[in-house]
Symmetry: C3
Subunit: 171 residues, 3 copies
């Protein structure tokens, strides 16, 4: 069990290292997180999919079209389906700012498969999905799965008109 805790620690480190190196545009260090034969799908279009470490590195140069970015990762859930393999789900808030000062934010998920290699754990497959986005974010990303309400479901009244609010922090 100690080994499993250490594996979780190492995989979490790589998830965060991806964010750090992407925001710093240290693309060589970023590419080393992946296996040589990795497959990454940021969206359903060809230009958002990369096969192989070199292609991922080159593809992510597109992040330079933003002036600044910030990738905040959380909700890490790691499972080990078999020895030497790990499935990781994580949540990402990705904030991007264009040279003109306008911004784009995605509320997303990374669905990842890691494998253990002689050099340590490496990311073999990543699929990005999107829980939500603001109006400024217009890249075509897979929607996260969400179940629909049963037929005939009626929304209750929960939200209060602003004037009737009480007890909250803005009274």
């Amino acid at each position: 069990m100690l080994q499993e805790l250490m594996d979780r620690e190492e995989i979490s480190f790589l998830l965060h290292e991806y964010c750090r190196t992407l925001d710093a545009m240290e693309l060589d260090t970023l590419a080393a997180i992946f296996t040589e034969d990795c497959v990454v799908e940021y969206g359903p279009e060809d230009r958002l999919q990369s096969h192989g470490r070199a292609a991922i590195r080159q593809g992510l140069e597109r992040l330079w079209r933003w002036r600044r970015t910030s990738h905040h990762l959380s909700n890490v859930q790691i499972r080990f389906p078999r020895a030497g393999e790990a499935n990781a789900l994580s949540y990402i808030i990705a904030w991007h700012e264009r040279p003109d000062g306008s911004t784009a934010t995605i509320w997303g998920q990374y669905h990842d498969k890691f494998v253990r290699t002689p050099a340590g754990w490496r990311l073999k497959r990543r699929r990005q999905t999107m829980n939500g986005n603001d109006a400024g974010f217009t890249v075509n990303v897979f929607p996260s799965e969400r179940r629909q309400p049963p037929a005939g479901w009626i929304a209750p009244v929960i939200d209060q008109p602003v004037t009737a609010r009480q007890g909250g922090g803005r009274t």
Copy 2:
């Protein structure tokens, strides 16, 4: 100590599983995170409080009034006051989008009590508080506690006029 690290890992997993299943509206899986006799308070009003697993499951159907949601959990702090019990504090950014495209965001905290059961750790009590909210979020939630300044405290001038900014990333 190894057991305690594993307990922390299991409780953290459940905190994240709550977010995942809520955003996916997998309410049966979500309900299984709680004890049968759990008490959940999302706010001070009756309609925001649930007693028992079945009531929580039914109450959370109200999330279908949003078109999309994304719950980003962080700042997990777990303490074990006695064997088989854990107090967990975590921070949550909950983003919600209505069918009309308008959004509501809460900057909140979950104050939780977990208990160890034969089936594993389960959530027995949750109280949500709110550090902040945007104008779109109008649900009545308990404010997080915050101490007030001493009498006579005067705010210093820290924030700069935009024109005088230098050294930051937007120069």
Copy 3:
């Protein structure tokens, strides 16, 4: 290795305790996270730098100029360069609200050095950098480092006009 996992747990706890006590303005508890001789740089100006625990406590009283705050920490990466020392990088989303209801948000990083003391791990040095900020945030903070594109790099067309979007969550 078990000791290292426990050290990571303790340091992570302190990173979160900083956020919790800052949002609650429990400044005495916050100050105890630091060493007596700590140095904190929130930005390049003198008024944003503090030397010593007492000065940090007093300096952070400036947070009372906000009505509410919420500090969401993630992406924790801890390394142990030598026994009794730890370097920690973490990401922070810091949301602030003024008494007039206007807000300021920073997307930042904490670059920290922790040391082991007889009383446990303590924060000896913190430098805050900024990946990004919204228009409401006007404090002068160090920019996070980001590599520039090679000379002659041309931005690809990735973002779609809103009318052409498909496959995303907002169709």
